[in-house]
């Protein structure tokens, strides 16, 4: 579903954000992208959205090499990708329903499609009762659910999330992760860039770690940090659930996928 082949991305000012990065993510996988600040996680996501082009290397998404995509095809690529951010990016003057419907309206979906799909997805994220509220009247967790509903309403093949729980408390974060997990179970490939060590440790899904732009770890059923840092993260685990120390720290092959 997603394939990076020796991708290098340098920003002007000669910051190397990704260095010779190769990775394979299959359809239906659930992947955490971790690493310290500035390690290139957001860059990874921006490349997938084709907001940036790599300096060298190639990227495939849904069977297409996106570097070769002509400019006018980019919107059609993005219709297959949902994306949520730390700051939600909702439209403050539109209601919950309108915010989600907007995503379908602006890609020309007819009214009857909007009127069936939006309630469905609001039901999925558990916000049917708040459909007429404005984002300002919702808690952070609820706002992020609206953002997820908007990203998912067009049934994308891939859902990207850049620190989706960065602004949320641990309990709310867990709810958001469960929601993303549920979406993943519908067959959608989910990639989450995060600093949330407790969450990563708890979910035990594939972890890809970047450090200063270099892919340093790719591990199935991984944890946030290795060894010492695991227990450190575990000690601070906000959910209070016991953290098992991973017995398998060897990076798995790129084809490794959570069953």
């Amino acid at each position: 579903m997603i394939q990076f082949e020796n991708v290098t991305k340098t920003y002007k000012g000669s910051t190397v954000a990704l260095r010779n990065c190769s990775v394979d993510i299959d359809k239906g996988e659930f992947v955490f992208l971790v690493g310290p600040s500035g390690s290139g996680k957001t860059t990874f996501i921006r490349l997938l959205l084709r907001e940036e082009l790599p300096d060298s290397g190639r990227i495939w998404e849904a069977g297409r090499e996106i570097g070769k995509l002509p400019k006018w095809r980019i919107p059609y690529l993005r219709r297959n990708i949902g994306c949520v951010f730390q700051d939600f990016r909702l439209l403050p003057t539109k209601s919950v329903f309108e915010n989600v419907a907007f995503a379908l309206e602006v890609i020309g979906r007819p009214k009857h499609v909007i009127n069936t799909q939006v309630p469905q997805v609001l039901d999925l994220v558990g916000l049917s009762k708040k459909r007429d509220n404005l984002p300002g009247e919702l808690s952070g967790g609820e706002q992020q659910r609206v953002a997820i509903a908007r990203a998912f309403v067009n049934r994308p093949l891939i859902l990207l999330a850049d620190e989706p729980t960065g602004n949320l408390d641990p309990t709310t974060s867990l709810g958001i992760m469960r929601l993303l997990d549920r979406i993943n179970r519908t067959g959608t490939t989910v990639v989450i860039a995060t600093h949330d060590a407790g969450m990563v440790d708890q979910m035990r899904r594939r972890v890809i770690e970047l450090d200063r732009g270099v892919l340093v770890r790719d591990q199935a059923r991984g944890v946030y940090g290795l060894d010492g840092s695991v227990s450190a993260a575990g000690a601070g685990s906000p959910t209070g659930l016991p953290i098992e120390t991973s017995t398998n720290n060897e990076p798995d092959g790129p084809m490794a996928a959570e069953a």
Binding site: W72, P75, Y76, R78, C83, L91, F102, I107, G108, A151
Partner: protein, 295 residues
């Protein structure tokens, strides 16, 4: 994917309303500049008409002395023919001039004339009536020439005034049109800024570039169109107020009557005004979209 007309007009209208002060300023500037363009066009066409009428009616007439010899008469004719700005030149006999004098001169003047003392003449059509002065200069006082009759200085002054006025109008109109485009560009820029959140979401969820651009383009187009509609009203007001052919009966000799225009000319003027207004709007908004809307 088709961009729905309903969507585009809804978005454009709400943008226009949000920035209504700027919109009014832009529309008024378009209106004033295009009213000037329209007036200049009317003036130009009116002047062309008037000139045409003068040219038909008033040629330069070089009267040759009644007593001049035949060779003197034809030498004056040859010299006239050689002038580059003389279109054509026809000789009139004494008898012809006598007959003409009888029909146009008051009785006292005509009674003093006999065919024998009526001078014969050369009647010249000119490329431009303003060149009549040159002929007067060159031929008045030449041997054998009695008198050179030309369109009055007043008419020539009038023509110069109209000419200057017309260019002044067009120059002012050009400057105003430029500022109108800049104003439109600025309103669109503000609209884009006001909608930057929507625009970023649209890009994120995969709205096509034209879907994002069109409401802003339509907004510029509407501003240009509204302005030019006001200008069209001004042009029509001028036409029905002053230059309408149906009023010619009132005062046959007035300049206004000589400038009178037909309905086709006014229609063409209105169409030009509309097209220029729409172009100003579209160009202004296209520049804003290119410059400020990163899609």
């Amino acid at each position: 994917m088709a961009v729905s007309v309903g969507y585009v007009s809804r978005e454009a209208t709400s943008n226009l309303w949000r920035n209504r002060m700027m919109t009014v300023a832009a529309v008024l500037t378009v209106a004033v500049s295009l009213a000037l363009v329209g007036s200049a066009l009317l003036l130009k066409q009116g002047a062309a008409h008037a000139t045409e009428r003068w040219q038909q009616g008033v040629n330069v007439v070089v009267f040759v002395n009644a007593g001049a010899s035949h060779s003197q008469f034809s030498s004056v004719g040859r010299q006239l023919h050689q002038l580059p700005y003389v279109k054509s030149c026809v000789a009139r006999s004494q008898a012809w001039d006598y007959a003409e004098a009888r029909s146009i001169e008051p009785a006292e003047v005509f009674q003093a004339l006999t065919p024998a003392i009526t001078p014969s003449s050369w009647r010249c059509a000119l490329n431009q009536p303003s060149e009549a002065a040159l002929i007067v200069q060159q031929f008045a006082g030449k041997p054998g020439v009695e008198h050179v009759a030309s369109p009055s200085a007043q008419i020539r002054t009038m023509e110069t005034v109209i000419h200057v006025l017309q260019w002044a109008f067009l120059a002012v109109a050009a400057v105003l049109l430029l500022s109108a485009s800049v104003l439109i560009l600025n309103t669109i820029r503000m609209a884009i800024f006001a909608r930057r959140r929507e625009v970023s979401v649209m890009k994120l969820v995969g709205a096509t570039n034209w879907f994002i651009r069109l409401p802003f383009m339509a907004e510029g187009l509407v501003q240009g169109l509204l302005g030019s509609l006001v200008a069209v009203l001004v042009v029509l007001g001028l036409y029905f107020g002053f230059l309408d052919q149906t009023k010619t009966a009132a005062n046959q000799s007035s300049l206004i009557v000589q400038m009178s225009l037909g309905a086709t000319e006014v229609t063409v003027t209105c169409i030009v005004v509309l097209v220029v207004g729409v172009l100003a709007g579209v160009i202004g908004s296209a520049l804003a979209v290119r410059r400020f809307l990163d899609v």
